[in-house]
């Protein structure tokens, strides 16, 4: 079956089917991660999430298209619909799983009347997910019906012995730390972010704010979130993708004599331009002379950001963030999507109105508060 959103599409009934971004592994099937580098890679395992969903009796609708290694480009046009969003929108599956580190799916889901649940870091096993940014990778769920997404999360979340960073059992992510407040939530609105956003985002936030008590605050380091995100992620991506070298699996250039050519030609031919830029920047920020200035600095700012969030959630149940800024530049907009992955916080993309939405972020392991706010706010 051919479908513009899929790499591989199976003939199954959509109402009980899930789709996977093509960086999540299904045993004995191709997992390309959208890269020529893995064009022929047959996975020897089922990802833990796949195993869990299949065990629940769900069926695999197929593997969807993605940016190479799920790394969004920071320049040029980024508006092509993500495979996972298209697949759910098209009703070829009920839910779709992907690893949205850079925010493309979070934005597109809300803009297309869908939800995206990005759970707390370490809630869902990464076993069988092609690693991109290890400290931020987190499988999330695209869904049209939030309850279906929540149910799916309860199936796939929880400790997995194959991923030592996974925490707790599935229910943990669905239990708020305190009792639910039944509508009496306080939501923080970052004024400095709002000042830079567009009119439609302001409207969406206003709509949400009308249902809840809101308080304004200043989000520190917002002006460097894109930079911190880019520095840390490019280094991790460069490192995680250095395993693709033509030696053990995946693409090997036909054009080589010695070992050096084998490496260089396989990698030069196998990676796309954005991945090359990412790897080069990754090498730059880690190289001697730059490490302290860029990488170490970014890790320190990451801690300051996280500490501020910990402080904020003493007063707020959630933070509302717009999904677009008053700029088309993907690098500028990255700042909006960086907060959740940098701090490992759960976020929920909520569609509001047409082609519009908002992202809610809560403290770690407080997904249920996000769901409750979302339901009450609509």
């Amino acid at each position: 079956m051919k479908n513009q959103y899929y790499v591989t599409k199976y003939d199954v009934k959509a109402d009980n089917a899930f789709a996977l971004e093509d960086n999540i592994m299904v045993k004995d099937g191709l997992t390309t991660a959208g890269s020529k580098m893995l064009h022929n890679y047959i996975s020897p395992i089922d990802a833990t999430v796949v195993r869990k969903l299949l065990d629940k009796g769900m069926e695999l609708a197929g593997k969807t298209k993605l940016d190479e290694f799920a790394v969004m480009g920071v320049s040029g046009d980024n508006n092509e619909l993500s495979g996972v969003v298209g697949a759910v929108l098209d009703k070829t599956c009920r839910i779709a799983l992907c690893n949205d580190v850079f925010g493309k799916v979070r934005r597109q889901a809300a803009e297309n009347c869908l939800y995206y649940i990005r759970p707390t870091y370490g809630t869902v096993s990464r076993f069988g997910l092609v690693q991109t940014v290890s400290s931020m990778d987190q499988i999330g769920i695209v869904c049209g019906d939030l309850d279906e997404g929540i149910e799916t999360l309860s199936v796939i979340a929880g400790h997995d012995e194959n991923d030592s960073t996974t925490q707790g059992d599935g229910s943990l992510a669905l239990n708020s730390k305190g009792p639910l407040k039944e509508g009496k939530y306080t939501i923080g609105i970052p004024v400095n972010v709002m000042n830079k956003t567009d009119e439609k985002s302001k409207e969406a936030i206003k709509e949400l704010a009308s249902k809840y008590h809101t308080e304004e605050f200043e989000l520190e380091h917002f002006e460097v979130l894109s930079q911190v995100m880019y520095i840390l992620s490019s280094a991790e991506i460069g490192n995680n993708t250095s395993r693709y070298d033509g030696v053990k699996f995946g693409y090997r250039s036909e054009n080589y004599e010695g070992l050096k050519d084998l490496y260089t030609n396989s990698r030069t031919e196998g990676f796309g331009l954005n991945m090359k830029l990412t790897s080069i920047i990754g090498a730059m920020v880690l190289s001697s002379g730059n490490y302290e200035k860029f990488y170490l600095k970014a890790m320190k700012i990451r801690r300051q950001i996280k500490e501020q969030c910990d402080e904020l959630f003493k007063g707020f149940d959630a933070i509302a963030m717009p999904l677009t800024l008053d700029s088309q530049d993907p690098y500028v907009n990255l700042a909006l999507y960086a907060l959740a992955p940098l701090c490992g916080l759960p976020s929920l993309s909520v569609p509001l109105g047409s082609n519009n939405g908002v992202q809610l972020i809560s403290q770690a392991m407080n997904e249920n508060v996000l769901f409750d706010i979302c339901k009450g706010g609509r």
């Binding site: 076993f127 030592s164 960073t165 490192n239 395993r243 053990k248 090498a283 490490y291």
Partner: protein, 480 residues
């Protein structure tokens, strides 16, 4: 001009764990190529490292036996470079928070005792193995060793002679084998050593330009390489016709020379950064104390026990604690026969000579402690005599026989019937009247002559002490 050689050591030791550092694959040496490999340790995507607890504990033990401080919070870092033996494109190691710091070991050479300072010990993963294949004229990659846990012990530049280097390595080997940290087999690559070496004028406090020597596969090679490299450097300084550059040199033991390894064309920048997939490991005082109780008796303590509790000689005790293997045979056998002196005699005497004749290093032999113990007991109880006992030992060594069964089957039991022995003694005396006259004249050597004859008559199965008693008694009758 007098020169001084200054050296520091980087010793890699493979930890004696069952499984690898980050996955459950076997860490055993000597399997078929790529048999102990999973997607994780061959670099495939989609796997998260699962840190081996025992590896961390062995790292702690390595630090404890070398007087190091144990770091309370350890982390792991990625070292980036491309080589076919490194499946993930990075090596997991510890740059920023190594598990042990600031230790020392004491060595003893002819010039006396000396402390060698240890700068740090860090945990890391080993790389795979490359073999050149002549049929394909290509390199073959085996990942069995990839991700096997290692520790690297980095010393301060405290060495001044090859003798000190070898003494240090022997000390490390003794400490780690007795503490079950590693089997430290240089020939199997579970212990490897790089030497950083420079020369300077005697008395100077400045360090010269150093080179790093690699591919040192035996103590002998190390000593030779040090001699070669220090001479090369001294000649270079004296004649000025060659400049010493900081470089890595590979030792070729066949030709007895070292040569500079071609500078890797790549920029030598490893781009270390903390591994986000391995969270910090906190090593509490309680954990250290718990681990401490599991450390087996070290050579030094064992030596004390042997000399003080068992009254063995310094010389024998040194030999019996000289390697983990011989110490294990001693203690293992002692469980079955409570006579340390006899056990020591058997191991250092008869067993050693058998092993010697077999042309085998003692550390590679295999002997059943229970059977050895049984044999010693049989001789002690005079079930067999010592000469027969030695024959049975050879059988235990080569064919792993049970000494009791073997003695029974081959009718090697000792003749203890004094009446029967007396008859034989008198028979032999009567056949050699000439010798009786010599005895009467005071020639004691005759006793040995008679002993030999009698033992031959009994096929060696008589208890020599009993025979001697009877013989002297009977001979003395002729004196009157």
């Amino acid at each position: 001009m007098k020169y001084e050689v200054v050296m520091g050591l980087e010793v890699h030791v493979e930890l004696a764990t069952e499984s690898k550092l980050f996955c459950s694959c076997s860490a055993k040496f000597g399997s078929e190529a790529n048999e102990n490999v999973c997607p994780s340790c061959s670099g495939m995507p989609g796997f998260v490292p699962a840190l081996n607890k025992r590896a961390v504990e062995l790292g702690i033990i390595a630090g404890l036996v070398t007087n190091c401080e144990i770091t309370p919070r350890i982390t792991f870092d990625k070292k980036n470079y491309f080589y076919p033996d490194l499946p993930t494109g990075h090596q997991n190691t510890q740059l920023y928070a190594p598990i042990c710091r600031n230790g020392y070991v004491e060595i003893e050479t002819e010039s006396g005792k000396k402390k060698i300072r240890i700068k740090q010990i860090h945990l890391e993963e080993d790389a795979g193995k490359l073999v050149h294949d002549y049929r394909t004229d290509a390199s073959l990659v085996d990942y069995n060793r990839a991700s096997v846990p290692l520790i690297e012990i980095v010393s301060e530049p405290d060495f001044r002679s090859a003798e000190e280097v070898v003494a240090y390595l022997e000390k490390i080997q003794s400490l780690f084998t007795f503490a079950d940290v590693s089997d430290c087999k240089m020939q199997e690559g579970s212990m490897r050593c790089d030497v950083n070496i420079s020369v300077r004028e005697a008395g100077s406090s400045e360090l010269g330009t150093r080179t790093e020597m690699k591919n040192l596969n035996s103590f002998k090679a190390i000593a030779r390489a040090i001699e070669y490299e220090s001479e090369r450097q001294i000649t270079a300084v004296e004649t000025g016709c060659e400049e010493i550059v900081q470089e890595t040199r590979r030792w070729d033991d066949n030709i007895g020379e070292s040569y500079a390894m071609r500078d890797k064309e790549d920029a030598n920048d490893y781009r270390y950064f903390p591994n986000p997939d391995i969270m910090p490991v906190y090593i509490s005082d309680e954990w250290i104390a718990e681990v401490k109780t599991t450390i087996p008796e070290l050579a030094e303590e064992k030596y004390k026990r042997l000399t003080e509790e068992y009254g063995l000689s310094d010389y024998d005790s040194k030999l019996l604690t000289g390697s983990r293997k011989i110490a294990d045979i001693f203690d293992g056998t002692l469980k079955y026969v409570d006579n340390p002196k006899e056990v020591a005699n058997w191991i250092l005497g008869d067993l050693s000579s058998i092993v010697n004749e077999d042309n085998k290093p003692f550390d590679e032999i295999d002997i059943d402690y229970e059977k050895l113990g049984k044999l010693i007991k049989m001789v002690e109880k005079k079930t067999v005599n010592r000469t027969i006992g030695k024959k049975i030992l050879q059988e235990i060594y080569t064919n792993n026989v049970d000494p009791e069964e073997y003695a029974r089957e081959h009718k090697l039991g000792m003749i203890a019937d004094t009446g029967f022995l007396k008859d034989i003694v008198n028979k032999v005396i009567n056949e050699n009247e000439k010798s009786i006259i010599e005895y009467k004249e005071g020639n004691q050597k005759v006793v040995g002559f008679f002993m030999g004859k009698i033992m031959r008559e009994t096929q060696g199965k008589a208890d020599p002490n009993t025979v001697r008693e009877i013989l002297v008694e009977e001979l003395d009758k002729y004196k009157i």
